[in-house]
């Protein structure tokens, strides 16, 4: 049975009427943004945003800039992969930034090296037993932190039926408190070399892309993905259909927090230190990336690909403003406007869809 069967009962199936992939709009926005910066750069400074203009380098594109565009968003991008799933399932996660902070503090405590330039580690959190552990130990500790925090989020949301906004707001405040209490606000520094290697150079980008592909496939081709969309689309229908909605929500929030903890490991490794204030506002950036990428705050709609494109839009804006030598404050103002614009667009799209039926 092929296309002819789509037209059961004489109704014809018109492939042209198939909906365009929703990511297309985001991609067009990304391209337009790049073109805008390219044009402005050439007009104002005679420089190219995208292309290589130096004679001593043999390349078409300005690779250092392209690398930075994606590098500066890949850690928050990892969080956004999880946040996207939460939003698709009809929830919201405000706790990811604080989970990054708490996980980074705890993880770093198990990643410290005993001797720094021949002296004992001045920032040691634990005794000798926690020094120079194999790199797997802090990684597992980090993942465990995330999974525990996310499971707590999920259990509250699924079984007490409090709004996800409140549950994760509580976790946001508590986890930030935990990260300050852990060392009384002192930073935790001097990791082992193998831990420091985790987030070196372009490694965050590698993790970001790998995790994005992995979760894109999971959302698309597994029961987990199908049920995540179903719950976000119509929770009652999902329950009636036999999906264990409560258990699934716990899983979604646990995975989201686990991704936040992966971001924490990468970030603390990259910075060679963990601080109590790490990850502040990351949750909002992650939500913004998702929303810009076409994830609907009403649930049921969105994709990892869209979120990756949303993250790239973020990166292009940050790099573009630096390139145009505009003040960093403008970036934030424009970011805010873009977030609101994306949600307005989403609302408008939903109303249009509702009107059509």
């Amino acid at each position: 049975m092929t296309d002819s069967a789509h037209g059961i009962g004489g109704l014809k199936y018109d492939p042209k009427k198939r909906a365009k992939p929703p990511e297309l709009n985001v991609f067009v926005a990304l391209v337009l943004l790049v073109i805008a910066f390219e044009a402005l750069g050439r007009m104002l400074y005679g420089e190219s945003f995208l292309f290589n203009t130096r004679d001593n380098v043999d390349a078409i594109f300005n690779w250092p800039r392209l690398n930075i565009i994606i590098l500066q968003v890949s850690i928050v991008g990892i969080i956004a992969i999880g946040v996207t799933q939460v939003i698709i399932s009809g929830g919201i996660d405000l706790s990811s930034g604080s989970i990054v902070g708490a996980t980074a503090m705890i993880t770093m405590s198990f990643a410290q090296t005993a001797l720094v330039n021949g002296n004992p580690n001045p920032k040691a959190v634990f005794g000798d037993w926690a020094m120079d552990l194999p790199v797997l130990v802090p990684i597992l500790v980090g993942l465990a932190c995330g999974i525990v925090a996310g499971t707590i989020n999920g259990l509250f949301i699924a079984y007490t039926r409090i709004p996800p906004f409140i549950a994760t707001l509580g976790m946001m405040v508590s986890a930030r408190g935990l990260s300050r209490w852990w060392t009384n606000g002192q930073p935790v520094s001097f990791p082992t070399e193998s831990y420091a290697a985790l987030g070196k150079g372009m490694m965050p980008v590698v993790y970001f892309i790998a995790l994005a592909i992995l979760f894109h496939l999971i959302l698309r081709y597994t029961i987990y993905g199908k049920h995540t969309f179903a719950i976000g689309s119509n929770e009652d229908a999902a329950r009636m259909s036999g999906i264990n909605v409560a258990r699934h929500k716990v899983l979604v929030y646990a995975i989201a927090a686990m991704l936040a903890s992966i971001a924490a490991v990468v970030l603390s490794s990259k910075n060679l230190t963990a601080q109590a204030g790490m990850g502040v506002m990351y949750e909002l950036d992650a939500i913004a990336m998702s929303v810009i990428g076409g994830v609907s705050l009403a649930g049921g709609r969105g994709s990892i690909l869209g979120t990756v494109l949303g993250a790239l839009i973020f990166g292009v804006i940050i790099s573009g403003f630096t390139f145009l030598k505009l003040d960093a404050y403008y970036q934030e103002m424009v970011k805010g406007a873009i977030i609101v614009g994306a949600v307005v667009l989403d609302q408008w799209r939903q109303r249009r869809n509702a009107a059509r039926t």
Partner: protein, 276 residues
């Protein structure tokens, strides 16, 4: 389709002559109290295989309450439900569905952002590779089974890859009904399936119901639409004030008669003592 009939006598309406089979569902003294409100009182009901029974009654007469007890959405206060020869106690709608009772709810239980195949198999996806919650979906098998189900029920959907939100009310209802027909249910219950539909869409849904009748699938239909009930059902059960007040064979009644039972102008002699 010219099957919009205004003939309320029902006697001439087409229906299958297939003989009725064994009892598939029986309720004895089925009762539901919400605190002091006696929403359903002592309902005795029998449904045979291949039989289409309509449940009628005014708003608040107990129709939906009756169905909610059978489908396990609520727990009964008293009484027995015998399904397929076994006394049953459904803890929830899922239990009922597992046992083979499929319900098309008044509020459609469809996920708007998913397509037809996804909705048909929601909660019972076919999988290619088992891995707990991360089991890999078998899209091809589900699509093929969906097309087969649509052919079987005669449901018209222009494109099964369309999401539900892009469909009309009638198409949505058809998807919901096709879902019940896909899983070899032993009993289908429809709670006002055409309440929100236009004329053509209603006709489409009714055709599906006729297909079920031809295939000998038993059905309970809750409806306010007299013409539809006369068209599609063999028997009419009338509820009033939480009790059954009439059990009418279609051939022996007509629209006015049924209305008299609904409004309370008449009560069948065998039920009279309950209303005393």
């Amino acid at each position: 389709m010219s099957d919009v009939q205004t003939n309320l006598s029902g006697a001439k309406a087409p229906h299958s002559d297939r003989p009725l089979g064994d009892v598939i569902l029986e309720t004895r003294d089925l009762t539901k109290h919400y605190g002091g409100v006696h929403a359903l009182e002592g309902a005795n009901f029998v449904l045979r295989k291949g039989e289409h029974v309509a449940i009628m009654g005014d708003n608040g007469a107990g129709k939906s309450t009756f169905v909610r007890q059978i489908t396990g959405v609520e727990q009964r206060t008293r009484g027995d439900i015998i399904f397929n020869g076994q006394p049953v106690h459904f803890a929830g709608p899922l239990d009922a569905r597992e046992a083979g009772i499929e319900t098309v709810f008044q509020t459609l239980a469809l996920a708007d952002h998913l397509d037809v195949a996804d909705n048909l198999f929601l909660g019972r996806e076919k999988i290619r590779f088992k891995l707990g919650p991360f089991s890999i979906l078998d899209y091809k098998a589900m699509r093929d089974a969906t097309l087969a189900a649509l052919v079987k029920t005669g449901v018209k959907i222009p494109n099964i890859h369309n999401t539900i939100e892009r469909m009309s009310g009638g198409q949505r209802q058809c998807v919901a009904i096709a879902r019940t027909a896909t899983f070899h249910s032993k009993l289908t219950i429809m709670d006002e399936p055409t309440a929100a539909l236009g004329v053509q869409e209603t006709a489409q849904v009714e055709n599906i119901v006729r297909t079920l009748k031809e295939q000998g699938e038993p059905l309970i239909l809750i409806s306010h639409n007299m013409r539809q009930v006369m068209d599609l059902c063999d028997r009419i059960i009338v509820f009033r004030r939480g009790r059954i007040c009439a059990n009418l064979k279609k051939e022996e009644t007509d629209g006015q008669d049924v209305v008299a039972y609904i409004t309370g102008a008449k009560t069948q002699p065998e039920y009279e003592q309950e209303f005393a």
